[in-house]
Every structure is written in structure tokens, then in C-alpha cells.
Symmetry: C2
Subunit: 552 residues, 2 copies
């Protein structure tokens, strides 16, 4: 049987656009001689729809979209994810559902059994878990149909399993010939390899081919990498869509284990910096476009963070749609005048300069009449950042370009950033990229030619808000900071554990304290593009008014 892996990029709530996309891909699949075309999870409405699911009109539109597809797509079987109402008066009102339809008729439905409710996922919030786990026979093939998390509970892969039941095992025990998994599985570093290893292990374990179709595209903080894939009964990858773009790949699924399944294998990114850059570019492009913008404006400081942000924006939106602004003060070094201009030339983006000293003086006259320029306190440092933030927003108001903010994850973690200042923007492009990874991504960007000027990569990071300031005056060394943050935020380790692992005790405690007390800044941060296993934002929900004061 020929199956098309239809890796589409839906927009949340755009039923009209999403339906058009699916009709287009289904026609392609039919033209390629496929029996079945498989679309991602919740493809009608896009993933994650969030609390839009609580609006009856949204569910109606999603059902209308499904019915339209059922009526419209002819001559090929279709698997598609959508939201179904729960007719029972006990339980949540919706199911996360899958329909298999053909020539105007829905032949089979599946309701997702395992509902991820952790990190960025909130599925128990809206959905009732499905109970049934039945095989559907299509053109002689016994297909086990699953929705994303349904396949993520194999005891050989997960030592601590979140769910008691295992739908894949239940389907395998009914002699499934094939496992199909429709999915909306977002990117983070290492996730694709983990996902493919897990799916390959399922194929091997149960000796059936596996077809996995993932959504692609950016939706707020999440970037879905795609890389939909097919595995044969030995767990060998035999089909793969591209990463970070729409794609359609055909897989020939063998009806007996003796025959080999085969398909096309499209190229994907080959390193972490490569993947991260692709995720940032796609996440930025989709956020800007899906929010209805075309252009972006970015403040350049001469440092590496804003340089990377501008480079990502130029690649995502086209250089002609990016404006950079350099806003020097008396604390700005001469190098940065040259480096920012050189960067803008390398990228081919617009560049303008707005000095902030006169505005700064006007503020200081009112707030700090005895201000000493040689020793700006936190008040005066923040005012500089907020003047820049206000200027960027003013340019945004004038031009209709979205402000992209430039802070990295390390500084967001410890609050080394100014709320209502450099944190201003609609999207915080690199706010889940630790500083040490910022350098790696920039090095990757410069592989073929120097895009980011060498001096930007080499200079000591500085906020330039007071004379001769460098980040390392105020923060631990970035290698140490990033290692401790990874342990704390991504691995849930306590301070004691990290100290036992050999990190400097004073530094560890200082970093923990800074992360705790800066929750309020992150609460008001722009969404950032998730690239690690634990990003600040919707996947990490910490109270602000709190303490952590053990008893003894």
C-alpha cells in the first residue's frame, strides 16, 4: 500500500487555509498513486489551539472543516486529526480525534487515549481520553491508528511511565500489520533523534512498519520540526520528510513482513547548531507572518545576541523586510558603531542610528538631578534600556514592523535584562538559546562566509550601561552559568546536587537565588522560540509570590 506522509504547516484557527492546504496535498498524493494520505494531529484547527477549544463556534468550524474535506477529497483514503465532541454528559466535552475517510464517508474514528499534560502540553484541560483501541482494516491491511502520545509509553523506552496503559501494545496484540501515528510533536535539541529511535524500537519490537506524520511550522513558542518518518519491520528508517518545511513523501508499505517497505528519505539538519538555526528561522517567520506582520525591527548593540537575532530575521523574512537600529549612548564603545554597520551591510538590511543621550538627560533631570555619569546605578542603567525599548516601539508604531527582542536564555534566567527595556518586543527570538549555544549557532552561520563580523564574536559581552562594564563583572562565567542552569532548569536538579557534582557552591547558590527572584520578569516576557527540553514560558509555570524556605 502506498501511503503519503503529508507534512503540512497549518495556522491555528485558519480552517479555510488549512482545508485548502490539505486538499492540495491530497491531490498530490493521489497523483502519485497513493492509497492513503496521512495528515497530522488536529490538522483542521492547527496545534496547539489552547483555550480556543472552549469556544463552541471554534469546534463547529473545525467540524465543518472536517465535513468539507470528507465531501471534497475523492479517490484516496485520508487520515486527519480534528476535535470531536464527547456526546456523554460525564467527562470533558471533547476528544482529540482522528478520522479515516474515503469518497465521502468516514470509515473509522480514533480518540486519543494518552493525553500529555506536562511541559507545554495541556491536553487534559480540554479532552476526555479515548478508551477504545481497535484495529481498522483498510485495503486488506490491519492498521493500528494512534495519535501522538498514544505511542509514547513503551516500557522499554520509558523507565517511569506516565500512563498505566499502552495503546501500541494493545494494537499490536490484535495483529496489526502497520502502526500509523499522527502527531504534533514540537522540536527541541535531541528530540528528533529520540523520537525516531523510539518509533524504530516499536517497529522492531512488534515487527510492523511504522508511519509517523508530524506537523511542521511555528506556533507561538513552539516550532514543529516535521521530519515525519517511516520505518520498516526491522526498525530501519525507509522514509523521511524534510525538517522545518512542508513536505510530502511516499512510502510503500509492504503487506507482509517478508516484503520490504520503502520510500524516499529527504535530507535534514545534521548538527545541533544547524537544527537550532533552522528552528529559529522557521519560528520567527511563522510567528511574524501568522500574526499578520511582514516586517521586523531590531535594536543592534554591537553584541552577539542582537547580531544573531538580526541574522535570523533576515533569513526568515528577507533582508528587505528587516530594519536594524543602533542606539548609542555615551557608554557605547567606538567599535560598536563600526561593527553594527558592518553586520547590517553583511545582512543587507536597513540600518539607522538614533542616539539616546538627549532623552537620557531629560529623564535624569527629573529622577536623579545629582546624577554622576561615571557611576550610573541600576535606575539610570534601566532608563537607558527603556529609552531604547520605547524608541523601537515607536518605530514599530510608525512602520508596522514587529519588534524582535534579542535577549538570550542565560540572561533571562538570572534577570540580567530590563523589563520594558531590552525585553520589549513581540517575539524573543533567542530567549531559549543559552549564551554558549548562541556562540555555536553564530559559528555555524559563518561557516561559508563571514555574516557576523569576527569582532562581534570575539569581544567580551557587555550591556554598556555604565563605563567599562562587562557581563562577567556582574555574572558568573557563561560556561559555568549555562551548566548550572541546564542542571537546574532542564534536569530539575537541586543546588545541593549541583554542588556535589563539583560546581562552585557560592556560584550555584547565587544562580539559584537569581533565577527564583526573577520569575516576575519572565512572567511579562514576550514568547520565545523553544529549542531546549525546558524553556521558560508556557512549559514552566512557576509562582511569583513564593519563597523556598525549607523547615530546617
Amino acid at each position: 500500500m502506498k501511503i503519503a506522509l503529508a507534512q503540512i504547516n497549518p495556522t491555528v484557527g485558519d480552517f479555510s487555509g488549512n482545508a485548502a492546504l490539505m486538499i492540495h496535498f491530497a491531490a498530490q498524493a493521489r497523483d502519485a498513486g497513493c492509497d492513503l494520505v496521512v495528515f497530522p494531529e488536529l490538522a483542521t484547527c492547527g496545534y496547539p489551539p489552547g483555550d480556543l477549544l472552549e469556544r463552541p463556534a471554534f469546534i463547529d468550524a473545525n467540524l465543518d472543516c472536517l465535513h468539507y474535506l470528507v465531501e471534497t477529497i475523492q479517490g484516496i483514503g485520508v487520515v486527519v486529526g480534528y476535535a470531536e465532541r464527547n456526546p456523554d454528559n460525564a467527562g470533558k466535552g471533547l476528544f482529540n480525534a482522528l478520522a479515516l475517510f474515503e469518497n465521502g464517508e468516514v470509515l473509522f474514528q480514533v480518540f486519543k487515549r494518552l493525553l500529555p499534560t506536562y511541559d507545554v502540553f495541556d491536553e487534559h484541560r480540554h479532552f476526555e481520553p479515548g478508551r477504545a483501541c481497535e484495529i481498522f482494516t483498510y485495503k486488506g491491511l490491519r492498521i493500528g491508528l494512534t495519535i501522538c502520545e498514544d505511542a509514547w509509553n513503551d516500557p522499554d523506552t520509558f523507565a517511569q511511565r506516565i500512563y498505566a496503559e499502552d495503546p501500541v501494545e494493545r494494537l499490536a496484540s490484535q495483529d496489526a500489520d502497520l502502526l500509523v501515528n499522527i502527531s504534533a510533536s514540537p522540536f527541541h535539541i535531541g528530540k528528533r533523534d529520540f523520537r525516531h529511535r523510539m518509533l524504530a524500537a516499536l517497529a522492531r519490537k512488534y515487527a510492523f512498519p511504522v508511519v509517523h506524520v508530524n506537523q511542521v511550522g511555528g506556533n507561538d513558542s513552539l516550532v514543529f520540526d516535521g521530519t515525519s518518518a517511516g520505518f520498516d519491520t526491522s526498525g530501519t528508517l525507509v522514509a523521511r520528510c524534510r525538517d522545518f518545511e512542508e513536505d510530502l513523501v511516499v512510502m510503500d508499505v509492504a503487506k507482509t513482513p517478508a516484503m520490504a517497505s520503502k520510500g524516499q528519505i529527504h535530507p535534514v539538519a545534521t548538527s545541533d547548531p544547524d537544527s537550532v538555526l533552522a528552528a529559529l528561522v522557521l519560528g520567527t517567520r511563522d510567528y511574524v507572518h501568522k500574526c499578520g506582520f511582514k516586517q521586523a525591527v531590531i535594536g543592534l548593540s554591537g553584541g552577539i545576541d542582537s547580531a544573531l537575532t538580526a541574522a535570523v530575521a533576515a533569513r526568515a523574512l528577507g533582508a528587505e523586510n528587516v530594519t536594524t537600529v543602533f542606539m548609542p549612548s555615551g557608554y557605547t564603545s567606538g567599535d560598536n558603531y563600526e561593527d553594527t554597520a558592518q553586520l547590517a551591510r553583511n545582512l543587507g538590511v536597513a540600518y539607522r542610528t538614533i542616539p539616546i543621550d538627549a532623552i537620557f538627560t531629560a529623564f535624569v533631570t527629573h529622577l536623579s538631578p545629582n546624577f554622576d555619569p561615571a557611576a550610573p546605578g541600576v535606575t539610570e542603567q534601566n532608563i537607558q534600556a527603556r529609552i531604547r525599548g520605547t524608541l523601537l516601539m515607536g518605530l514599530s508604531n510608525q512602520s508596522g514592523a514587529l519588534v524582535l527582542s534579542t535577549g538570550n536564555k542565560s540572561e533571562l534566567a538570572v534577570g540580567y535584562c530590563t523589563l520594558y527595556g531590552d525585553m520589549n518586543g513581540g517575539l524573543a527570538v533567542i530567549s531559549d538559546v543559552p549564551k554558549t549555544l548562541v556562540y555555536e549557532v553564530c559559528a555555524f552561520l559563518n561557516t561559508d562566509r563571514e555574516i557576523i563580523p569576527g569582532r562581534i564574536l570575539e569581544k567580551a559581552p557587555s550591556a554598556e550601561l555604565k563605563p567599562d562594564q562587562t557581563d562577567q563583572d556582574d555574572l558568573p562565567d557563561y560556561a559555568l552559568l549555562d551548566a548550572v542552569l541546564k542542571g537546574m532548569v532542564e534536569e530539575f536538579k537541586g543546588a545541593d546536587t549541583l554542588i556535589q557534582e563539583g560546581h562552585d557552591p557560592a556560584a550555584v547558590r547565587d544562580i539559584f537565588r537569581r533565577v527564583e527572584v526573577n520569575e516576575y520578569k519572565r512572567h511579562q516576557a514576550a514568547p520565545g522560540i523553544k529549542v531546549t527540553s525546558k524553556a521558560f514560558g508556557s512549559g514552566r509555570r512557576y509562582p511569583i509570590a513564593k519563597t523556598f524556605r525549607p523547615l530546617r
Copy 2:
């Protein structure tokens, strides 16, 4: 049996402080001759702890807190909520638990069966549901012990039930003599009456007394009103704690239905404006104090929103801890110079004036050199708001006072506010109070004497960012706006439904559009105090990059 309803105000993560509170209340209860003292849900760690539950050190500290209480409190039985580890290797790693202990020994445990995962609640994120539903016999009384949501699934109260099972029915069927419910049930308008009606109905239905102990206090956006209560077998309220403060009330629970249960009934607020004001005051006090601040700074415009915010702050923190700042521009009317000064005198709070014209001119010189003061566009209007926001943050940096922002729910809904401007602040005190309710609360505040000057209540609302501006030039009438917003946001009604109900079609569509496109502003808003059944914030999770484009 004499039972103490111990309505405490824990701080999230303050195991030391929370334990001290419980030891103090337990001693009071013992001195009053009680057999049992009952504390709220998750009283060891405070509610809601959010993803702090994912940190093993946090769970350890919570267990240590429980063990310390078990060792320390003698001579009285104790019911307390805490987080327990799930020893099974399938399922979530924690239970939302209750322990009943006495004289050094834990006698009984309950794991919460129904886990709210909607609105502000995320319990499936962290907890595995308990399965057991057993009676515990204490001093001859067969007690059914439940945790909050366990009691919120009676089919006579809820037509659409979220859960298939009903722990209260299961306990009642085992001949419970008494139902105890420990809880962390946050306030919104009408919630207390609903909660008490529901509990009274359970008491009547099953003919057992009901004891309900609720947490009190503010934690981020949530204010827990307390109003812990006891009902006799006829559903009559026989015991009640005060609302919006800590309290301890003793209830004498009759061992046979023939005998009457009795207790003390403490006074509570008697109207919606009264409750809302009390919630705002407690929410503000606890947020400021639990975040480690003592003082607040507030920008006064001469309008009703900032007036109410300042009045709440003065009541919450003490007038001596509140500084108000008036920041006039050339667009500020003469009345507002007088009205803000009069308000500050009435409240007894500090008052200072910082004019913004010079700073505004400095900005405009760079951004809008041909600016016409008679016709400021959105750029220049926003700059004024951002200058004020930056000045307030500067004062905060200098003084260590927290900025309280002053926007109401109606303007936050439609985006009639400036991000990084008037939205600046650590807490948005009235951001869940619709404009029409702001007037009601102010009228209530002025019941005994004029706190908010009459002219502030009477003038037409204006942002004063351009000449002769009033809100109603830019927005629908507030009565209409608030009615449509209530239908849309709190009641999940579609635009079509609201139009059918008789609202002006153009206005409804305009309001829907404004709410949709301003999600990005709310994403970066400070936490606000929830007083309605659906607040913007953690209980309403909408994507930003989205559209709602039905198919046809």
C-alpha cells in the same frame, strides 16, 4: 466531636512559616477543647505551587514539613493537605494528599481523586488521581475525607459533569457520619454562595454534617476567600469563618442525626462590591508582602482606575507605604491637578508631580521631527504612556517600592492600554475588574465618607494622550462593552449569539476583533487579581499567532 476549622494563609514554598502557622492554630484548637483540627489542601507548601512540584527538593521539604508537624503537634487529631510521592512506576509521580495524624502517628491517608484541570487549575499536570475511597473512623465517628474537587461532582448540582465518578457518593454509600473537605478554592464573584449551596445540598442529600476548610490569602492572581463553613444534616449553615482573613472556628459535630451540630458563624462581606474590594485589598497585600516588598508606587491620572488602585493599595499596605505620582503633559486637564492631589490627601499617601513634556519633546525630536501637537498619532500617544511607565519604574528602582499598574479589565480586553507604558508594574490590581464594576466598587468605598473625590467619579474617562480625547471616542459605551465581554469571555458565547441576544452587530464584531488581536498585550501583562469567573491570565490560554477564519 469538636472540630476546629483552621483557615490559614500559607505562603507558597515557605515550609518553615507554614509549619509555624499550623502549630500555632493547632495549639489554639487544642486549648479550645477540640478533638480535631482541620487545615486546608496542600497546606504544607501552599496552593498553587505550580511547577515547584517538579523539583525533588521541594517535595522533600514538603514531606519534611509534614513529618515535623506529626512529631510536634500533640494532644489533638490533625487533618492536613500535603504532596505525597507515588511509589508506582506508572503514572504521575505525585498525589495531592491528605494525612490524618495524632500524637506522632499518621493514622490515615487520602489521595485526591478528582483533579481539576481547567481555568487556573493544572492538577493533572502534576498529580496521579487517587483510586481508594474509604471511610476512616476517628473517635467513633465514621468520617469521609475529601480534598476540594472530590466534592464538586454531584449530579444534582452539575448537569455536565467533568468526571465519571463521585467520591462523595462512594463515601456516603459506606455510611459516613460526617464529610470533611479540605480545600483551596479561589474567590470569584458569586463563588462563595455557589460553594455553600453545593455543600449544603450534599449535607441534606446524604444527611451528614459537612465541614469545609478553605485556604485564605492571595497567591499571585488568585485570592482565596476562606469562608470555611460547616453545615448540619439539614444543610443549614452552623459554622463559618470570616472571609479574606485567617480565622479559627469551632464546630460541634453531632454524632447522631438526631442531635444538632453547632458552631460559631463569623461575619462575611454582604455584597459583590464589598467582596471584590476585600479581594483586591488582600490580593494586593499578599502579593506585595509575599514578593518581599513593603511599599508601592502608583501613577495617578485623575481618572477612576488609578484612584481605585491607590485606595486599594493604601488599605492593603498602609497609607504610609504608598507613593502616588502625577505625571502631567500638555494634554492634561487642569481638573486633574486638583483631583489627584485631593485623592492623595483623602488617602493620606505621599504625592509627587513629574511633568513629562521635556522628555516627550526629546523623544519626538528623534522619531517624529515634524510632529503636530494638535494631532498626536498612536506613536506619540504611546510614547507618553511609556515615559510615565519608565518614570514609575525609575522611582521603583530608587525606592524599592513595587509599581502597581492601574488598568481595568475592559481596556485590557480590547487593548486600550499601552504595553511597556501604563501596563508597567508588578501587579495589575484591577485588571480583572470591568469598568462598570470599577464604578460600583468606588461607590461602595465612598459609602461612609468621600475617599475618591466626586469629580473623579463623574468625569468622562479619558486617556489624555491627545487634545479633547475621551474613551468613548475610541471605544463602545462601557455598559455595552462590558456586557459583550462578559458574554464572550466569561460565558464563551460566539458573536452570532450575542447579536441574536440583541447587541449591536457592528459593535459586537468590533469588540471580538479587538479582543482577538490584542492577545499579545495580555501575554506580557503583569498578573492581575482574579475576581470574575474568567480572568485573563493563567486561566485563559490563548495562542497569539492565530486567526479564526471559518471555512465558509
